[in-house]
């Protein structure tokens, strides 16, 4: 599994209130949520994000509210992976559960600039910055989480891949 896209970069402590403001939480529609993604810190995001783009941030990404609407909005925007120095723990669980790829990598977070062309190999955890000709090794998932992702997310893993 691989990803390739342009980096969109934010800072530290990007909270779920700015990822998807509460005024839009009455809906559960991914496309409707995506149409307001990041709007409280970056009104240009929705207009410029392209399918496959990679979101890069600093520490504690996704802090605050447990709203799963936040990773849903990011995924439905077309973002192929979020790279951060660290993730808030509820966001981390939610992203895995809904199948949004996330990687913890301090060096990538520091090295990648807004607009850089970035490739990711999820099997090896190697992030390549094609613009700067650099590469960074991300922390791989624990085996337990790899198995959950391989079986298609949390719900698929508890149903054994089929409905009960």
């Amino acid at each position: 599994m691989n990803a390739h896209g342009t980096a969109i970069k934010y800072g530290d402590h990007i909270d779920t209130d700015v990822i998807i403001p509460a005024r839009y939480l009455a809906t559960q529609s991914p496309s409707e949520l995506a149409s307001h993604c990041m709007e409280d810190i970056d009104k240009s995001f929705v207009g410029r994000v392209q399918s496959g783009d990679i979101l890069v941030a600093g520490v504690n990404f996704g802090c605050g509210s447990s709203r799963e609407h936040a990773p849903i909005a990011i995924k439905a925007s077309g973002i192929s992976c979020v790279i951060a120095k660290s993730f808030a723990r509820i966001f981390y669980r939610n992203a895995i559960n809904i199948g949004l790829a996330i990687l913890e990598c301090e060096k990538a977070s520091d090295g990648i600039a807004e607009g850089d062309d970035v490739s990711i190999d999820f099997d090896t955890g190697i992030i390549t910055n094609n613009t700067k000709n650099e590469s960074y090794q991300a922390q791989p998932f624990p085996d337990f989480i790899k198995q959950m992702i391989a079986s298609g997310g949390l719900m698929a893993s508890i149903t054994g891949g089929g409905a009960q």
Binding site: P21, R23, L25, Q28, D40, S66, N94, Q164
Partner: protein, 422 residues
């Protein structure tokens, strides 16, 4: 190797003799919680996976508190979905308008959680019940859906930061000041992935309402959970609320902690968190130049009767500043009733405040007190992120009920002693 309180509860719920930090476990759950925002997403996932039954309906609690009473048609549809799900599975603990309160005040009040139990909730402030010596933590909707189906969930066993409390809080200082002060010390990710475990001789000087507020905001330091050692205050609180047998788990003497913080409660000042992070803490006395437009007293953090009492003490016989909006939200119907019986409702109304039905409303910028561009609020809620209470150019200052009430009277951020000479 000894275990922390959290590790002991998790080991017991995983059916293991012991667990260690970093270990991945599956744990049985005593309570699975959702609200009108998060449960509809969970119900969609539950139905999409094709589940026909819940494992144990008596352990599932749904509370319609965030956008209820329904703020718009979409909110009404979300509550309707929850109502239908509760009916389909005969859920006893479904709380709709009239019976509902703000979930993290309602659940302890009704004895739906007890010491030593394990809970998850699709709401980040589910960590509140650590005040009772329970393990409880916030998760997302898909985790909630899976837990409704299986009665269990997976956890990575957390390491812990021990907070050793000594001393006694000063006049006008409350649990809110303690937790804001602590978040100021730790930072908003200072306890990331870890437990905050509160113990020490200072515990005897903290009322249950203070502990509930402190545990509630453990998430604001990034913590997985906050938890208090069980003592006589806990036992007195639980008396008459819960007929289940419950277990006290004490940390082992040789439990390992990632770090230990010694906190003398006497040194904690009335504390306010400036925008836009809860770690931006200042003594309330530094806020004299900050003019405000609105005060909110309520929320899962500070909507208990003790919080109402602290506000009423200052507002009695006084009026909030002309032009300022004062919004008081008792967290549950029982607390609302008690405000009427104790005369607080009259005090609030005569002071120029409104007294709202229980709701999370303004805390998350949902309804009942949204801010316009350039407006500032002092609020007893838990987050002051960009746009949290409304417009992205509005500002939220987090404070205790006493500081919020004093600030409502003066029109700027005020220490209570600016209003009363005690």
């Amino acid at each position: 190797m000894g275990m922390t309180m959290t590790q002991k509860i998790l080991a017991a719920h995983a059916g293991l003799p012991s667990v260690a930090a970093g270990q991945l476990i599956k744990a049985k759950l005593d309570l699975v919680l959702g609200n009108d925002i998060t449960a509809p997403v969970a119900i969609n996932e539950f139905e999409k996976a094709g589940f026909q039954t819940v494992t144990d309906g008596a352990r599932i609690t749904l509370v319609m508190d965030h956008f209820a009473p329904n703020k718009d048609i979409k909110a009404a549809e979300g509550c309707k979905k929850c109502r239908g799900f509760a009916k389909r599975f005969g859920l006893e603990h479904f709380y709709d308008v009239g019976e509902m309160g703000i979930e993290h005040a309602l659940i302890p009040e009704k004895g739906l959680i007890a010491p030593g139990e394990a809970a998850i909730g699709a709401d980040s402030h589910t960590c509140t019940y650590g005040a009772l010596g329970a393990f409880s933590t916030g998760v997302g909707s898909t985790d909630m859906a899976a837990a409704m189906a299986t009665g269990e969930t997976w956890f990575k066993v957390p390491a812990a930061i021990k907070v050793n409390l000594t001393g006694k809080m000063g006049r006008w200082v409350s649990g809110k000041d303690v937790i804001l002060h602590l978040i100021g010390l730790l930072g908003v990710d200072g306890a990331l992935y870890q437990s905050l475990e509160f113990s020490g001789e200072g515990l005897q000087n903290l009322a249950m309402s203070d502990r509930l507020t402190i545990a509630n905001m453990a998430i604001e330091a990034g913590a997985k959970n906050g938890i208090f050692a069980v003592d006589d205050t806990t036992r007195a609180y639980m008396a008459g609320r819960c007929d289940r047998d419950w277990t006290v788990y004490e940390a082992d003497a040789d439990a390992e902690y990632a770090s230990v913080i010694d906190l003398d409660l006497a040194t904690v000042p009335c504390t306010v968190a400036w925008p836009h992070l809860p770690e931006n803490t200042h003594p309330a006395t530094e806020g004299g130049d900050i003019e405000i437009d609105q005060v909110v007293i309520g929320s899962c953090t500070n909507g208990n009767i003790e919080d109402m009492a602290a506000a009423a003490e200052l507002l009695k016989g006084r009026h909030i500043k002309k032009g300022l909006r004062g919004i008081v939200i008792p967290a549950t119907p029982k607390i609302y009733m008690e405000c009427i019986e104790r005369g607080y409702t009259r005090i609030f109304l005569e002071a120029g405040c409104i007294v709202s039905t229980p709701t999370c409303g303004p805390c998350l910028g949902g309804h009942t007190g949204i801010l316009a561009a350039g407006e500032r609020a002092v609020s007893t809620t838990n987050r002051n992120f960009v746009g949290r209470m409304g417009h992205v150019e509005s500002e939220v200052y987090l404070a205790s009920p006493a500081v919020a009430a004093a600030s409502a009277i003066t029109g700027h951020i005020s220490h209570p002693q600016e209003v009363v000479n005690i």
